[in-house]
């Protein structure tokens, strides 16, 4: 399959290894990956903070760039949720019938990374090797908007050498919430304290998720505490093999 990668603006800038890992996994499975260089941001940050007017041109731009893709892979649940849940309304509210129609056509071909693997490509064993104790954090958008369920866990359970330990309070938000983390920094920190406590209780050395935004948040506190836990996007966990570990 020919897969178009929407890396997302923050993965592009802050987590390039996630994108490299997505490419590595998909190519290892025999697919070709293309990366349209015109892409920037889906508009989520603007939209969720109340700047819907500024989000609209970004959304329109995204739809134009990926209109002809066979499949779009996005290694971020929250960006997928933004596109699925709010692009149709953004088009409608701006009276943009052409965009609305293009969104309708695009949505069935748009996948979060673990969705693409499990639902569209039908694989759970991607030939990965990752000999570490790992816990999985379910991001809110993955859990409640995308209904990823245990798809990420199916992928992780098939990884050689990986010891998967359950995270207590899996359905609880880590407190990131985009600009919430700075606008309500104290409440956000209280939520994050509960989340990192649960992570530390697992005695895992790696915490993984389908969203680098939550992971950046959790890593922020774990790093401050010298906690001895690192965070890795699920693509990076799935990228390593016995011959070439991640």
């Amino acid at each position: 399959m020919h897969i178009s990668l929407f890396i997302t603006c923050y993965n592009d800038t802050l987590f390039p290894r996630t994108g490299q890992s997505v490419v590595r996994v998909l190519e290892r499975l025999g697919h070709t990956v293309e990366f349209p260089l015109e892409q920037t941001c889906c508009g989520q940050m603007h939209f969720n903070t109340g700047y819907a007017r500024e989000a609209y041109p970004l959304a329109k731009r995204f739809v134009e760039i990926f209109a002809d893709a066979e499949a779009v892979c996005i290694p971020s649940s929250s960006c997928v949720a933004m596109i699925r849940e709010y692009y149709p309304a953004l088009a409608r509210e701006n009276g943009d019938a052409a965009m609305a129609a293009a969104v309708d056509r695009l949505l069935p071909r748009l996948f979060e990374f673990s969705e693409l693997l499990v639902d569209r490509l039908g694989v759970t064993d991607v030939g990965a090797y990752f000999p570490h104790r790992v816990t999985y954090h379910a991001s809110c958008h993955g859990l409640r908007s995308l209904h990823l369920g245990d798809k990420p866990m199916q992928l992780l359970r098939a990884v050689g050498g990986l010891e998967l330990v359950p995270l207590e309070g899996l359905e609880q938000c880590c407190g990131f919430g985009g600009t919430f983390a700075v606008k309500n920094a104290d409440v956000s920190a209280a939520m994050l304290t509960d989340k990192t406590r649960a992570v530390l209780n697992t005695r895992a050395e790696v915490c993984t998720a389908c969203d680098n935004s939550c992971l950046m948040h959790m890593q922020g506190m774990l790093h401050r505490q010298f906690a001895g836990v690192r965070t890795l996007h699920i693509a990076e966990v799935l990228a390593g093999t016995e011959d070439a570990p991640a």
Binding site: I7, C9, N11, D12, T13, L14, P16, T18, G19, Q20, V23, E27, T32, F35, L37, E38, Q39, T40, C41, G43, M45, H46, N48, T49, G50, Y51, R53, E54, P57, L58, R61, E85, Y86, C140, R144, S145, E171, Q172, G175, F176, G177, T179, F180, A181, V182, K183, N184, A185, D186, V187, S188, A189, M191, L192, M216, H217, Q219, G220, H223, R224
Partner: protein, 494 residues
């Protein structure tokens, strides 16, 4: 007065000041939350109570195999009612009055308060007993009556605790959930004159029962809210768990209900759905122990005078907003509060409104026409737990984001917005994201700036401006040496 008492007194006074539940004067949510986050007793009480209710709810939702269908049906009923509100309200009025009741229409809080006072004066009532009602809290009825020499006695156990403790509700259904039984014992012992009272729950309820019984038997007028108004039958439906409501609804001669206009439902049969979802969502019960419906006056049974005050107080305006109007579907179960990770940390007082938690975050600013409580739509990480548990499927995250846009759009017209750090950042980012070369230049520029201030790959422990709120409790990794797109271009096409 001992030193301990002085300290406690000043602490309570401070806590009370911080907890004004008037959205027009309350502190913004982040400031109020910061105070309550330091209250370890409050946080333990709120966490324990919400955990318990959530566990009970989850078990009872689990056993309903048609739960999602019930949610859909509940949402459809409420939407139908709101879409035809004018018709159903008139239908209710006609039926209720035909059966001997009286219906009043109040455009706002002060009108509603004056109507109630007028009825009380007519019956020469100087005291009333009350069933727990968020609507009367919304309009500040108790304070209003006190100013006009009418004593209002709360008869719901939690409301009694708050009234005697000079406190405010922090939850829609469990208004004193921020208090534990040791604190309740202290309030009862002090205000009821019972120095030997223990904190045994049975002893506490027995004390409340003795205190209230005398009032049930003496006071001739009751004030309540209403869970549902049934248009088809002209019925006023009230559900409760303690029996205090049944006492207030049957013993007095005069009954006054203050009910928001959105509470109407079309048909009696609609209760089949809502009386399954409401108790399960609210208190984790299959049904409420007491379900009362008065459809007008019944000679020889119950109150001889029945009044329903239909309260608008901003609701009609909420109906005009195509996205915001789903807020009025709410049946006040409080499930969103128990599920909300923000509410679970702060409790309800930080919201500065009688409506706290996710539903309060969308209802309060709309009732205030977005002029007050503008921080509330931001008091959410948009995790979606509220929407997931809502028995009438209010898409609270959608409304939160919509209201944020209304807050931002109000600000756009103001000159001061030109100097707003957040707005300036958002405008700059929008311009950067609109164009590939600008975006790539910004990525390079950020890295250049980083080289000027950082050595090697050291993490950030301090950042300036708004970003500094992040680094108060969290580190931030430095920007990597290469963006993904640089790597991709360097790698060349496979």
């Amino acid at each position: 007065m001992s030193l301990v008492q002085i300290e406690r007194g000043s602490h309570e006074a401070r806590a009370h000041d911080a907890h004004t539940l008037d959205p027009r004067t309350a502190s913004p949510f982040p400031a109020a939350a910061k105070i309550d986050l330091r209250d370890t007793q409050l946080r333990r009480n709120v966490a324990r109570a919400t955990d318990t209710i959530q566990r009970k709810r989850a078990a009872l939702v689990e056993e309903k195999t048609d739960w999602q269908a019930l949610r859909d049906a509940g949402a459809a009923i409420r939407r139908e009612a709101l879409t035809n509100l004018d018709r159903y309200l008139l239908e209710f009025e006609e039926r209720f009055q035909a059966a001997g009741g009286t219906v009043h229409w109040a455009a706002n809080a002060s009108e509603a308060n004056r109507i109630v006072l007028g009825i009380l004066r007519e019956h020469e009532a100087s005291e009333v007993i009350k069933i727990k009602s968020m609507t009367t809290a919304e309009i500040g009825l108790n304070d209003f009556l006190a100013r006009h020499d009418v004593a209002a006695y709360e008869t719901d156990l939690a409301e009694l605790i708050l009234q005697l403790g000079d406190d405010q509700p922090s939850h829609i259904v469990v208004p004193a959930l921020h208090k534990n039984r040791q604190q309740v014992r202290e309030i009862f012992a002090r205000t009821m004159g019972l120095p030997d009272l223990t904190d045994d729950p049975e002893a506490l309820t027995a004390a409340a029962r003795r205190y209230l019984r005398e009032k049930f038997l003496r006071v001739k007028t009751a004030i309540c809210g209403g869970n549902f108004l049934i248009a088809e039958t002209g019925g006023l439906a009230i559900v409760e768990s303690e029996g205090n409501g049944r006492m207030c609804l049957t013993l007095p001669e005069t009954l006054i209900a203050i009910v928001g206009i959105e509470k109407v439902i079309p048909r009696f049969a609609d209760l089949e759905v809502l009386l399954q979802t409401l108790p399960r969502s609210a208190t984790g019960e299959r049904m409420n122990p007491y379900n009362s419906i008065w459809s007008g006056v019944v000679p020889g049974d119950g109150p001889k005078n029945m009044h329903v005050v239909l309260l608008d107080n901003g609701r009609t305006r909420v109906l005009r907003d195509a996205i915001g109007r789903q807020t009025l579907q709410c049946i006040r179960c409080g499930a969103c509060q128990n599920a909300c990770p923000v509410y679970r940390q702060t409790g309800g007082h930080a919201y500065g409104s009688v409506y706290a938690g996710p539903i309060g975050a969308i209802l309060t600013p709309q009732l205030e026409d977005m002029r007050y409580a503008q921080s509330l739509p931001y008091a959410s990480s948009l995790c979606g737990a509220c929407y997931e548990v809502c028995p009438v499927k209010i898409n609270i995250p959608e409304v939160l984001v919509h209201l944020r846009a209304r807050v931002v759009d109000r600000g756009r017209r103001k000159l001061a917005s030109l100097f707003d750090q957040e707005r300036a950042g958002m405008m700059m980012m929008a311009a950067v994201f609109a164009n590939r070369s600008r975006y790539e230049a910004a990525q390079r520029l950020a890295r250049t700036a980083q080289r000027a201030v950082r050595h090697g790959d050291a993490w950030y422990h301090w950042l300036p401006g708004m970003a500094g709120r992040w680094t108060e409790t969290r580190d931030l990794a430095p920007l990597p040496q290469q963006t993904f797109r640089e790597w991709w271009q360097q790698r060349g096409q496979p």
